[in-house]
């Protein structure tokens, strides 16, 4: 009976675990309180893993440079971009965005970019943080 794994696990006990640690060691009673403390410097968190250089996170839009050409709406696969006729600008719903950055590629003025921000979870699909305009 060959059990090569036994040797492997016995060696592994004495090595450092490969898991990325959670931000907090234990689940704090209140996450918001904990984050406040971190903000105030009273508590420390394990920093998140850095995003890679080409990461596509939450979209960023420079409204003033936009010329309202609508090309981004034409290539958005998820219909996440809405045209505002009054000002000839667009409004982007981040909850519907699929982060393909195709609009970035097609934008003739380069006013759309992807930021490395990725902590976007929320309960409200149309919260203020979920609309870029």
């Amino acid at each position: 009976m060959a059990l090569p794994m036994i040797r492997e696990i016995l060696a592994q006990v004495f090595k450092i675990p490969a898991t990325n640690p959670f931000p907090a060691r234990f689940l704090p009673p209140s996450v918001t309180e904990f984050l406040k403390k971190v903000g105030a410097g009273e508590a420390t968190i394990n920093p998140p893993v850095a995003t890679p250089p080409r990461f596509r996170g939450k979209i960023v839009y420079d409204r003033d440079g936009c010329i309202g050409c609508n090309l981004c709406i034409r290539v958005c696969p998820a219909h996440a971009i809405e045209f505002i006729p009054e000002t000839k600008r667009v409004r982007i719903y981040v909850t519907q965005c699929i982060f393909c950055s195709q609009c970035n590629d097609i934008c003739p003025k380069g006013v759309l970019t992807m930021s490395p921000e990725f902590l976007l979870g929320t309960e409200d699909r149309f919260a203020e943080s979920q609309i870029v305009e």
Binding site: P53, R54, V60, Y61, G65, I84, T87, F126
Partner: protein, 219 residues
């Protein structure tokens, strides 16, 4: 099985010789990709429904074919079913795709099953029944494949005529719940000034930063 490998033209000739007018519009599509431009071969033939099974049997005599899928295309007046095969797999760079197009008139959407000669076709034949409303005669298992039990009869999702998906069945999820009375944000033409939206301030780095530059800072 035949040991000699036919050229694409010979293969087409063999079909036209045997089936005559029932094979039409044969074409060889060759595409070369990569740096060395080695060609790959696709052979398209339009055949009538009556010779579908003999044609597949003949393909089987040439080399055991692999049935990828049966596809369909609703072109309006008729429905074209594509039987997508490949033969000569296992030969390095020697595989041909053989695609039989079988046109069906909308009034007579019936096809014979090919599961007796290609057992692996059952899945895709079941799918064709539910998606295109084609009746496959003698199909050993005529249940629905992907569509749920409560899907209405007589609606065929991939058809483009009145039996296709009616607009009433479509719900554009992206529109649901979007705020309609949101104030329009002010626009300043070509001016940099702080905005109510905090995102605006961060727009400094231009799109698609060169990866090498960022990679260096990252490591």
């Amino acid at each position: 099985m035949n040991e000699t490998i036919l050229t694409p033209q010979e293969l087409i000739d063999r079909f036209t010789r045997t089936f005559g007018d029932l094979v039409s519009d044969p074409r060889i599509q060759i595409r070369a990709e990569g740096a060395k431009k080695n060609p790959n071969t696709n052979i398209w033939m339009t055949i009538t429904r009556d010779i579908l099974k003999p044609a597949i049997s003949m393909l089987k005599e040439i080399s055991y074919p692999h049935l990828s899928v049966i596809s369909g295309w609703d072109v309006g007046e008729e429905l074209r079913m594509q039987y997508i095969f490949s033969i000569y797999f296992g030969e390095r760079h020697g595989e041909y795709m053989v695609i039989f197009t079988v046109p069906l008139t909308k009034g007579d959407l019936v096809l014979p099953t090919i599961t007796d000669i290609m057992p692996g076709a059952l899945f895709t034949e079941r799918e064709k029944q539910e998606m295109f409303g084609v009746t496959i005669t003698d199909i050993p298992d005529g249940r629905r494949l992907f569509l749920p039990e409560d899907f209405p009869e007589g609606v065929y999702p991939l058809r483009k005529d009145e039996t296709g998906i009616p607009d009433t069945m479509v719900k554009h999820l992206w529109e649901v719940g979007r705020p309609t009375n949101r104030p329009v944000p002010p626009v300043t033409e070509k001016e940099e000034e702080p905005k109510d939206d905090p995102e605006e301030k961060t727009v400094k780095n231009k799109e698609n930063p060169s990866p090498e530059a960022e990679a260096k800072t990252d490591e």
